[in-house]
Amino acid sequence: MTSAILVSILMTLVAASTPILLAALGELVAEKAGVLNLGVEGMMLCGAVAGFAVAFSSGSTTLGLFAALLAGVATAMVFAVLALSLNANQVATGLALTIFGIGASSLIGAGFVGRTIPRLGPIFPAALSEHPWLRVVFGHDILVYLSLALVIGIGFFLRRTRPGLILRAVGENDASAHAIGYPVIAIRYAAVAFGGALAGLGGAYFSLALTPMWADRLTAGRGWIALALVVFSAWRPGRLLVGAYLFGAVATLELQAKAAGVSFLAPEVLAMAPYLATIAVLTMMSLGRRTGRLDAPACLGKPFSAV
């Protein structure tokens, strides 16, 4: 009996961590290329609504996932044109993207409020995915395994491959990378697009897997938490995994406490927990740091122009 509860808690933990991990991995790659895209929350919302709308009208969650990915890339490209080609302030452009995502998702989603769709299901056969305890490993949907594979894949790409090295060079010293002949802006476009794709998928995780029902602003600030996790991870995918699952644990505790009817803490206080925890973690990161500016890519957020 208790093991059944433990299994269900672990399943909730994985589900709560996955969307943030996806979005944060995408942002990590963009930031490694020197681009600070604060529009994660907006891209997630656009992905969430596009995924839901397509899954609802086509009946296929797979198509929904593709739509979410494309919506994430499309919104990221708006950011890229403004911030990379027109050299607009990256902070302001990212904020604009978030405000846009909130408005657009709410406008498109207005017709879907309360509608439900079939939930994104596990990819392994029922014998494994519904096994009482093996489902901890085999009972997840494709995005969970994708996010874990990406932690390894992105880590390998950034540290061990030549394109990864070039991407890091662009983020650390754009002028030198340009002088050697690398297309700084094109590489940043690609990194931002990748970030948008993962943010779109992360957003779709809310509308297709977590609560397969449309609700306004259903990502509830998780995009901002993903941004904070990138700082927490010191731009390393492995630590990002730890951070996302730590955050997932806080969110799971919140859910469990609510379900168990913990009476000495008001539900509003529990709802504050993830945000307070994020501030606490950012603060501890700074306290524990010994040197320099937290290992941030040196050109993070700075505009680059070859002319």
């Binding site: 405000i99 406008l107 306004d216």
Partner: protein
């Protein structure tokens, strides 16, 4: 082909013109987007942008909505100039209202002229206190104020929900999640008899003037600009970046708190869960539309306030959902950022050399 040339100095005419170009582009783009979504795009944009200005009975409403936007944006803009990105004004706005309401609930059986000023003071201090947290974390620990101020907004909103559903719930309110209504001594006086125009509107205009004098005529304002534009020169010149961060965060937090208190003691007259409607975020657009200039912000505040009023009109005329207003405002910010390129670059049409 188009030829791009970087200007030696920002173009002054474009500095003034680009917000107007951005507004025109937003109207065109809005028509296309709303039409593509199946609405009457032409009338939708007309309702949002033109009707509020053309119908005099809407002007008071525009003023009421512009006042908090202008107040918040004035503070944010001064911070942005110093490269201090307080994007949690919404939270400071809510905390200001909460602090002021706290005073109101303590004094609800009392009368006296001093009650409203006490609420105003509490509102300013509430907003300042909430902004002091990210200021402290940034100055002492180099934690990004962008993330912390935003996280604190979510905390402030949950705190508001907690109060109005719990300890501050009106005991005579039929269990609705809202506080007591404020008494006459706790309510912002109107300045035009028989209209909604309350004291907050002249206050916002006065504050814009003060902010303009502060930025243009004082050393403190000069320090803010230098710290933002040339941090190294600022250090050399003895301007402290830490002090500037503290000052701009507290100033923007205090102004947001004041705006929150005015909103609570004015149009709302109590606190409800509907209180946070995003003025703190829209004020960011106002600050940019006003080119971070105090007098430009008055213009920006009026334009964005009109989109709120017009958004309500469009709900009834062309059945445009309320969310369209937010998207429209975001499009405006996109266009503003895009047209900014005209200030820094000279773009001309040049025939390709044969």
């Amino acid at each position: 082909m188009l030829e791009w040339r970087r200007r030696r100095e920002p173009s002054l005419p474009m500095l003034a013109l680009s917000p107007l170009i951005a507004i025109a582009l937003t109207m065109a783009l809005g028509m296309i987007v709303f039409t593509a979504m199946g609405y009457d795009g032409f009338h939708a944009v007309g309702s949002i942008f033109l009707t509020p200005f053309l119908e005099p009975q809407r002007w008071a409403d525009i003023g009421v909505k512009a006042a908090p936007l202008v107040m918040i944006a004035l503070g944010l803009a001064i911070g942005f100039r110093a490269n201090v990105w307080n994007i949690g004004a919404e939270g400071q706005y809510v905390m200001g209202a909460i602090a002021g309401t706290g005073v109101a609930l303590l004094t609800y059986q009392m009368t006296g002229w001093w009650i409203l000023p006490a609420m105003v003071l509490a509102g300013i201090l509430g907003g300042m206190a909430w902004a002091a947290i990210p200021a402290f974390l940034r100055v002492r620990l180099q934690v990004s104020e962008i993330l912390t101020s935003l996280m604190l907004t979510y905390v402030a909103v949950q705190f508001l929900y907690f109060l109005v559903r719990g300890p501050w719930k009106d005991p005579d309110g039929f269990n609705f999640p809202q506080t007591r209504m404020f008494t006459a001594d706790q309510t912002l006086p109107t300045v035009l008899e028989g209209t909604l125009v309350h004291l907050g509107i002249p206050a916002a205009l006065l504050l814009a003037l003060v902010a303009w004098l502060l930025m243009e005529k004082t050393t403190a304002g000069y320090a803010v600009k230098v710290v933002g534009l040339a941090p190294a020169a600022a250090r050399h010149g003895g301007f402290s970046a830490e002090r500037t961060t503290w000052a701009t965060m507290l100033l923007s937090g205090g102004l947001a708190g004041l705006a929150g208190l005015f909103e609570a003691a004015g149009p709302f007259g109590q606190l409800t869960p509907q209180f946070p409607i995003g003025y703190g975020f829209t004020a960011i657009i106002v600050a940019f539309l006003g080119r971070l200039h105090p007098l430009g912000i008055v213009f920006g505040g009026i334009v964005l306030a009109a989109t709120y009023v017009g958004g309500e009109i469009a709900q009834s005329t062309v059945r445009l959902p309320q969310a369209a207003t937010g998207m429209f405002q975001a499009l405006l910010l996109f266009m503003l950022l895009a047209t900014d390129v005209l200030v820094r670059w000279r773009i001309s049409w040049k025939r390709r050399a044969a």
